[in-house]
Symmetry: C5
Subunit: 155 residues, 5 copies
């Protein structure tokens, strides 16, 4: 089997190097090729992700962004998300969206920790999608959360 | 006639195993093939559903999610819904969306019951779409509700 | 000229049989083939309409729904509408959306009358689109309303 | 060079004959073919415009509507706009959206004047897009407004 | 290597010649072909950008607009953004959106300065995407802002 290739699409707008954290996590846990593509802002991610799939042959892509706290930022994140979903539906490949909103936590330090953890936990999801789908199936409906404590299943 | 194949796309984010409930309901009532595909979150469902149709040959897909109560959760659900509709329109196959919002009821126990019931009632809808479309036609305009009591027709 | 075929896509969620009313109105006024397809909810209408066009050869489709009064219902209606427009743009065929919102009037009886009248008046629109486009052109800018009194042209 | 063909897509819902005003303005100022297509409401405009391009060979289309003042009207206008943009992107042809919102001015008479003027000024834009693109380029960033006084460039 | 071609799509609605500023910045810093296409408003930008890519052979496009401060302006900007993302996903080419909202600053003079600076800084982004992608990668997660001071990385 040829080695799998993971695309990393990220932005210069974000205030934490989530792409770097994810690459570190992926490399620690698996042998695969990584292709990175950095763009200015989150609305550039849909086409960047599609190019990683079509032109660079990535099997799966991770798309990282850090939307600001204003109404306009939320709208941009919404537009970027819809574009990322469209790119997935058109290519039939996964693009795992890893967005950390600046207002999810109060302080910069927490935000950096959240961004790092979410990037790494989604990198683990990517590894499961590629190599261990049965692990995801075992966790179906278990209330998993990336970056925060798991909510857990209803009881 | 070859056996029909139903795809089950669900998430590790959800806090109840709706996919499992639907599979149980489908198996109790019909002989068909089932293909399950669990992804991290609800925005991964559109492409997961499309892959079930294109790569696994599913005749119909059920897509399960449990959006949280926050504004951002509602926005994610909206984006996922639009993607699920896009995947249907592009493949010309049904993807029955089974979303249970965490704030539809007050307590965890009720939520689990709602999720179970909605999953099963939509599994019944899937069976009707596959095998008994004339039953759906007889119920046209009858105010059916999945998971709650039917509203019934206007009088 | 072969007989025209009209698709009727409707839901079991709606609380009035708008599809039945439209079929009655169409049959009273023209000789055409009718294909009905009932689905559970309004988000199933885009693909149902596309299937009526592609698989059943319908020349035009009417898509009926009755969204509830809650915010989530409005969002579902929005998603369904966008999907219906997408299905039209992809097939280059009309899908006439006939939605009656539960909160357009106060009482159930009024709602039933509104639904019946809107269904029939849009059935008339379908007949004009199919057979008498010049009548629509004569009414351009005339403030027509389906289900309520016409607003009429500005004066 | 063969004569250019302009499509006019409008509605019976609108309360002013904007399509007629635009046709008058176009005919006064150029020699071209005009194809008109009137549909019931603004959500029918995306497919109507696409049909004008694909089936009637229009080089460019104008799409006219007059959304009402209610929240639901704004949502319909939003859906129609997205559909019109989708139809443009899929056909790679311009569809100039000419929407006049009922609540842009206070009185019916003003609304009729606004509708007439906006229709005519956008007809002029269509002529520039077809025959004098360099005029539009000269006006880039000049704060042009259709129907109202120009805002003019920042100073 | 053949010379790269940059498309400039802008509007007569905007109140500052951002397209001109970007062209000046591009020409000062690189040797490339530029194709300009001015349209009336921002909703015309998605198809204008697609035409620049498909019909004029542009390798990348910049799309400039200046949305007004009203709710309707925000909605138009949202629709234009979604269309620009769709055009990118369909063509697999970047269309760098350069929007300046009239209410981002208080006075006209500041707005002109902001528009000029954002246009030029995004022109620099375009040059990096075309010729120096490794520079963008070095700036990943660095909190870059176009038109304003950089936010910088979290610490």
């Amino acid at each position: 089997m040829t080695e799998k290739k993971v695309g990393i699409a990220d932005t210069t707008f974000a205030r934490y190097d989530m792409g770097g954290a994810a690459i570190d996590e992926l490399r620690k846990n698996a042998s695969l090729k990584i292709e990175r593509y950095t763009v200015p802002g989150m609305k550039d991610l849909p086409v960047a992700s599609k190019k990683l799939i079509e032109e660079k042959g990535c099997d799966i892509v991770m798309a990282f962004a850090m939307p600001g706290p204003e109404v306009i930022d939320k709208q941009c994140a919404h537009e970027a998300s819809l574009g990322i979903i469209a790119a997935q539906v058109l290519t039939s490949r996964h693009i795992i969206e890893v967005f950390v909103h600046e207002d999810e936590v109060e302080h910069d330090k927490e935000l950096a920790l959240l961004a790092d953890r979410r990037a790494r936990e989604h990198a683990q999801n990517v590894l499961k999608l590629l190599f261990k789908p049965q692990e995801l199936e075992r966790e179906a409906g278990m209330g998993k959360r990336e970056g925060f404590e798991d909510a857990g299943p209803l009881r």
